[in-house]
């Protein structure tokens, strides 16, 4: 059996797509000073609401819109808890994740749990037969539009500068007339939308169906990727690709005769070991955003 290198690279881009969307959402949040552990639940809500709206309306675009709205609302909830109420961000985030997952599972049971699986339309791959380039539309958008646009916005736009200012030094930003709370609300709502769209990739592009626990910890991986990428767009995208290539490689190695005797557990752990190793090498001495985890109150 020859080794399908291009198939592994194609799989890498597919596996990385939801991670890129959600991790860039987390970058926006954290650059504004808020750690959003609601990411796992927000992805879950995006996956479920996208599926739900598509199943109800028969329109994929309606599903994308619903995922987007669910993300905006999840971000607004996080903002209410962490910005307006100023609560501990870890607690607010975990609570949001538990809440969103439970609401989605509850609704899923009421509407869809009749023993059979509901399937919907899903996005087709562009350029079928195009090898590496045969990917879903959201993969193209993630790498060619979202990442460059966000890189530019954070680096050069007024919004990006204000966002970084409230994340680094909200007192100074406030003194300079930047509305701290509003900027953080905007960051959380925008970031939430990206996370939810990342989740919707699983249902609306990959599968065309919803299964409970569909996100399976991808949100937590994104939290690690953001630290690995030091809150910068391109390194975070690189981290997602590193994890994805390790995952794609282990899936292929697991069924390659030469590696048949390697214990299955070692191969499954491989992508996580790669990320942990990478964090251990490049993740030391990271400089967190100045106001990370700190609610802002005028003294």
């Amino acid at each position: 059996m020859n080794f399908p290198l291009f198939a592994i690279l194609a799989a890498t881009l597919t596996i990385a797509t939801p991670l890129v969307w959600a991790a860039l959402g987390a970058v926006i949040n954290e650059r504004a000073g808020v750690l959003n552990l609601g990411i796992e639940g927000t992805m879950y809500a995006g996956a479920f609401c996208g599926f739900l709206a598509t199943a109800m309306s028969g329109s994929l675009w309606f599903g994308v819109a619903a995922a987007l709205v669910s993300g905006l609302l999840a971000g607004a909830l996080m903002a209410l808890l962490t910005v307006t109420l100023g609560v501990n961000q870890h607690v607010a985030g975990i609570g949001t994740t538990l809440l969103l997952v439970a609401v989605c599972n509850f609704t899923n049971r009421l509407l869809f749990s009749d023993g059979s699986q509901t399937t919907t339309e899903k996005f087709d791959r562009l350029l079928p037969g195009g090898g590496l380039l045969s990917q879903y539309p959201m993969t193209y958008v993630a790498f060619l539009i979202l990442a460059p646009a966000l890189w530019w916005v954070l680096r050069s736009s007024g919004f990006g500068l204000r966002l970084r200012a409230v994340g680094e030094n909200p007192e100074a930003a406030d003194a300079a007339g930047i509305p701290v709370a509003k900027t953080r609300y905007a960051a959380l709502i925008l970031g939430g939308a990206l996370m939810a769209l990342g989740g919707s990739f699983l249902t609306l592009s990959l599968l065309g169906s919803f299964t409970i626990d569909i996100v399976s910890g991808r949100g937590w991986i994104c939290i690690a990727l953001v630290i690995f990428g030091r809150w910068q767009v391109w390194p975070v995208v690189g981290g997602a690709l590193l994890f994805a290539v390790a995952d794609a490689l282990q899936l292929q190695l697991a069924i390659t005769p030469l590696f048949s005797d390697v214990p299955n557990e070692v191969l499954i752990a491989f992508p996580y070991l790669v990320v942990i190793l990478a964090l251990a090498i490049w993740g030391r001495g990271v400089r967190y955003p100045g106001a990370y985890l700190k609610p802002y109150r005028r003294a």
């Binding site: 609570g95 049971r109 609610p295 109150r297």
Partner: protein, 358 residues
């Protein structure tokens, strides 16, 4: 700064309370709809004439394994054989133990059916405490006298038949299987499938991927894509997600647990079905007759007892299924049903890539 730190504990506690209360209420809703069933069961006239059965499941009912047990119990209730009530998502051993003790003390059902894989010791301890209740649990262990019977999804028979079909359908000579994890319940199905492939295609290669999760369809699909990249042109979806890959790549695929033909009407050749009704009927009959004792109920899941089967072979596939292949499979199915062929049971973990005859 001082003012802020003196205020934050209150805000912290208030928000913690709100967030966790909301999450708990909703998590409770999501995990358990048993209450609705309870109202149903008690309001039904004559409910007391038939044995009462309580289902106690470790995973959410959406998990196909527990879903199959639940479906059989619901159908038995519809037929008027039992009064049925259930709870699910008891995903830790202590949660399962607490729920079982609560059910046994307060609901006092005649029979408790569930799955014990994640909580063998806890479930068996409760069974010992309540010897008047018949316990029947999905389990990898032995039965325990006097009142703890075990069952499992012994689906090697339909797996063998599906393997025969897969071996006949492959043109590349490579077949891809994607399963949850290498545990005996999965291994014997995958090995039964490989044995079936061997019968119709003695030189085929079967690749087996495990995704180490019961619910991760996105990874299962990537594993299927990897199998396809490795040359597979027929797939077996032990887990969800694989059918989507087969459909995108226009390949034959076999489903699992329920008939999944409607998910990809042109690509799902057939599905392996587990029918818990014979097991449930055997338990209920024994309890009604007063003869229930601890036993291994495995045989009630065998095809010879209608406990498992192969879904009707799809006639509307995008590719042709040779008539002589279907004949061969039907002949083997008849042999299994009349007892002249017994599918070998092998619970060893299959290799990532098995080339038959090597």
């Amino acid at each position: 700064m001082l003012r802020r730190s003196s205020r934050s504990p209150h805000r912290f506690l208030a928000a913690l309370g709100v967030a966790s209360a909301a999450a708990l209420v909703l998590a409770g809703c999501g995990g358990t709809t048993g209450d609705e069933g309870a109202d149903d069961a008690t309001s039904k006239p004559g409910a007391s004439d038939v044995p009462s059965v309580f289902g106690a499941f470790a995973t959410p009912l959406e998990e196909p394994w527990d879903g199959a047990i639940h479906a059989a119990l619901e159908s038995a209730e519809e037929d008027g054989l039992i009064a049925y009530d259930h709870t699910d998502n008891l995903h830790t051993a202590d949660e399962m133990e607490r729920a079982l003790r609560d059910i046994a003390t307060n609901q006092k059902p005649d029979i408790i059916i569930g799955d014990a894989f994640a909580a063998e010791d806890a479930v068996r301890a409760v069974a010992t405490e309540f010897p008047d209740i018949a316990f029947a649990f999905g389990s990898g262990g032995e039965e325990q006298a006097p009142n703890f019977s075990v069952f499992d999804n012994w689906m090697q028979d339909p797996a063998y038949l599906a393997g025969m079909l897969a071996g006949g359908l492959t043109e590349s000579g490579t077949i891809g299987v994607v399963g949850a994890m290498p545990i005996p319940e999965v291994n014997r199905i995958v090995n039964g499938f490989i044995a079936g492939v061997e019968e119709t295609n003695p030189s085929a290669t079967v690749t087996v991927s495990f995704i180490n999760s019961f619910f991760d369809p996105a990874t299962a699909k990537q594993a299927a894509e990897a199998a396809i990249a490795g040359g597979a042109d027929v797939l077996f979806a032990e887990r969800d997600g694989v059918i989507a890959a087969a459909q995108e790549n226009n390949l034959p695929v076999f489903g699992m647990m329920v008939d999944q033909q409607d998910q990809a009407p042109e690509h799902v050749v057939s599905s392996l079905l587990w029918n818990m009704r014979p097991t449930v009927d055997a338990i209920v009959e024994a309890v009604v007759a007063g003869t229930f004792e601890a036993s291994n109920l495995a045989e009630y899941s065998f095809m010879v007892n209608d406990g498992s089967s192969l879904a009707p072979i799809n006639t509307g596939t995008a590719f042709e299924i040779p008539a002589d292949l279907i004949e061969k499979v039907e002949a083997k199915q008849a042999e299994i049903r009349d007892g002249s062929f017994e599918t070998p049971v092998d619970e060893e973990a299959p290799a990532g890539s098995t080339t038959i005859g090597e």
